[in-house]
């Protein structure tokens, strides 16, 4: 903030701007205007409308019946057991998906970074599941674990005849976790790109100093990868906490409208929000729920940013000082 006010003061107090600078400023705002206008209309104003809605009983239809509830929606949210159940499910999911999934992806990337025959084929195969469009990929996953028609129960029946585990109903969160592990190829490719950025000289120098491959990995490669890992963790946590489509589609829904038929104890947080708003038309309450979630995400991100100072290694500081 400070440098802006300083910049504005300096440029304006200089009396006249060079035509070059003036044109640059004009061009800057011209180039960013689609984003700025879109940001105002589709992000900033909706954020404000949403926040205001969260203090009302708005049902999506009648503005005339609208009543100011102050903080009652928030109070009700914290009194509802669905909030805690869905938060618990979502955190368990995220904890299993992000750290464990990234660890798998990193190990896989590291193993596929060495020279070997068929390397690019294996890379492509492990990458493929992550590029499948979500709504279809989750159906394929559901079919694999289907109680009667699934390959998994058929396979287990070879050892224990008559295995009929209702995977989706009894191990719902685990199914979603494993679905996301199935799609870890996206993270793997990013780690592969990061690994290719590790200078060969550094590895060689460490090997000459007598480090074995495990030591090279932990004291040379891993520190250089920490910025990539950090990036993956932040976006992974934000993404995983918002799990919605795959949970609804895996459980199945009833009717043409896509009403969620899921019992409350299987709710993910966003499924809870979705069903409140779009199944029961409780807009005010649903938006309040989404703001509680927003605050949780912000707190988690700030914790990650603060702790990153102690474990993320930056070789060169970024120019401009804008990227953190």
């Amino acid at each position: 903030m400070q440098d802006i006010t300083r910049m504005v003061r300096e440029t304006w107090h200089r009396g006249k701007l060079g035509t070059r600078t003036r044109r640059e400023i004009r061009d800057f705002y011209m180039f960013t205007s689609p984003w700025i206008i879109g940001f105002m209309l589709l992000s900033l104003i909706p954020l404000i409308i949403g926040l205001l809605t969260s203090f009302t009983n708005y049902d999506g239809l009648n503005i005339s019946n609208i009543k100011w509830l102050a903080l009652r929606n928030y109070q009700r949210a914290f009194e509802s057991s669905d909030l805690y159940t869905s938060l618990k499910n979502t955190f368990v999911y995220t904890l299993l998906v992000v750290p464990v999934g990234n660890l798998f992806a990193l190990i896989l990337a590291n193993m596929l970074n060495r020279a070997m025959i068929g390397r690019s084929l294996f890379r492509a195969i492990y990458y493929l599941p992550s590029i499948l469009p979500l709504a279809g990929a989750i159906q394929a996953w559901g079919l694999m674990f289907n109680m009667n028609a699934g390959a998994v129960n058929a396979f287990l029946s070879l050892f224990v005849p008559g295995t009929a585990i209702n995977w989706i109903n009894e191990h719902f969160v685990l199914m979603l976790v494993m679905f996301s592990w199935w799609q870890l190829g996206g993270a793997m490719v990013i780690y592969l790109a990061g690994l290719q950025g590790v200078p060969e000289e550094l590895r060689e120098a460490a090997t000459m100093d007598g480090a074995n491959s495990v030591q090279v990995f932990f004291s040379v490669v891993l520190p250089l990868l920490t910025p990539v890992i950090f990036f993956q963790l932040v976006l992974g946590i934000i993404g995983s906490l918002q799990i919605l489509d795959s949970a609804i589609l895996l459980y199945g829904r009833t009717g043409l409208s896509g009403t969620t038929s899921m019992p409350g104890d299987l709710y993910m947080y966003m499924v809870y929000v979705y069903s409140q708003v779009f199944d029961f038309q409780r807009y005010g309450y649903g938006v309040a729920l989404s703001w509680i979630f927003f605050v949780i995400v912000l707190v988690l991100t700030i914790i990650l940013l603060v702790t990153s100072r102690y474990w993320v290694y930056y070789e060169v500081s970024q120019e401009g000082g804008t990227v953190k």
Binding site: L42, I45, L132, N148, V287
Partner: protein, 292 residues
């Protein structure tokens, strides 16, 4: 450079004789098992799509159909409005991908290459939008679109497309920051304005990034269920929503194997696009320096 050093270079390493040991064999067995795990859901989907509906979910589970029902595919894709839905989805996904990449690359270029008061605040806003959960803006957006009578049209995707995406703005900004200054100076001396510099120099050199961003956005729209589900009615919706209700017999029972054949048809275009674009995608991920 001696021979030992040469051998570590990728181009030469390939010719270097691979020493086969037990370690290698276990490694390959591991990779092959993993391959099986990774492709199994898709293989199983294809196998199921070739069964008779009466063969679906029998006990014991049949691995293969008694007779592969190839006619499931024309029944699923041609006898029902599969291609109509696919065309509707394309009409949403293609313009929205092109618009979002254009808008994001313009903004990314401005953030990377120009100076103006307010720039750093705006860039912090771009980055902080990455932290805002989708639901927090989507519910009010939905209320807004409903008031403007834009639900049941493709306008929301056009508008979201024009406003770009934080993630893509960030990617383009990272990529354009690394382009040498000389390129721009030479063009400026020749009297090119910034829009031409962007269009004729910066956009062409960012080919892999553009391709990656286009493909990922297209894939996202193609696979998105939530947005079309809340914004569109069942007669003009996308494949991801529409497929769920297309394969019912008159009594309302799901024709599972036809549905699975349709799912194969739904996944296939994406697979083809990715196989064609694979080279650019890997390049795009490497060159944008996703490492932050």
């Amino acid at each position: 450079m001696n021979h030992a050093q040469l051998a570590t270079y990728p181009a030469f390493a390939r010719r270097h004789k691979v020493h086969i040991s037990w370690n290698h064999i276990t490694l390959y067995v591991g990779f092959l098992l993993l391959t099986l795990v990774f492709i199994m859901p898709v293989v199983w989907l294809v196998l199921t799509s070739l069964k008779l509906n009466s063969e679906y979910g029998t006990y014991p589970t049949m691995l293969f159909p008694a007779v592969p029902q190839w006619t499931n595919y024309p029944q699923a894709l041609i006898d029902r409005p599969f291609f109509k839905l696919a065309w509707d989805t394309t009409q949403i996904a293609v313009p929205s991908a092109i618009l979002t990449v254009l808008s994001s690359s313009l903004a990314g270029f401005a953030f990377a290459r120009m100076n103006a008061p307010g720039k750093s605040v705006l860039f912090v806003l771009v980055l902080s939008m990455l932290l805002v959960p989708r639901m927090v803006t989507t519910i009010p957006d939905f209320m807004l679109f409903a008031k403007l009578r834009l639900t049941n049209t493709y306008w929301p995707w056009i508008l979201w497309g024009i406003s770009g995406s934080s993630f893509n703005i960030f990617l383009f900004r990272q990529f354009f920051s690394a382009v040498p200054k000389d390129l721009e100076d030479a063009a400026e001396v020749d009297g090119c304005n910034r829009l031409r510099i962007f269009w004729q120099i910066f956009l062409p050199v960012s080919g892999p990034v553009v391709a990656t961003a286009l493909i990922f956005h297209f894939q996202w729209v193609w696979g998105d269920w939530f947005t079309p589900n809340i914004l569109l009615s069942s007669d003009n919706t996308t494949l991801s929503v529409g497929l769920g209700t297309l394969y019912l017999d008159p009594k309302g029972n799901t024709l599972y194997t036809l549905y699975m054949a349709a799912l194969v048809g739904y996944l296939l275009p994406m697979l083809i696009i990715f196989l064609i674009g694979q080279k650019y995608i890997v390049q795009g991920i490497v060159t944008t320096g996703l490492k932050g």
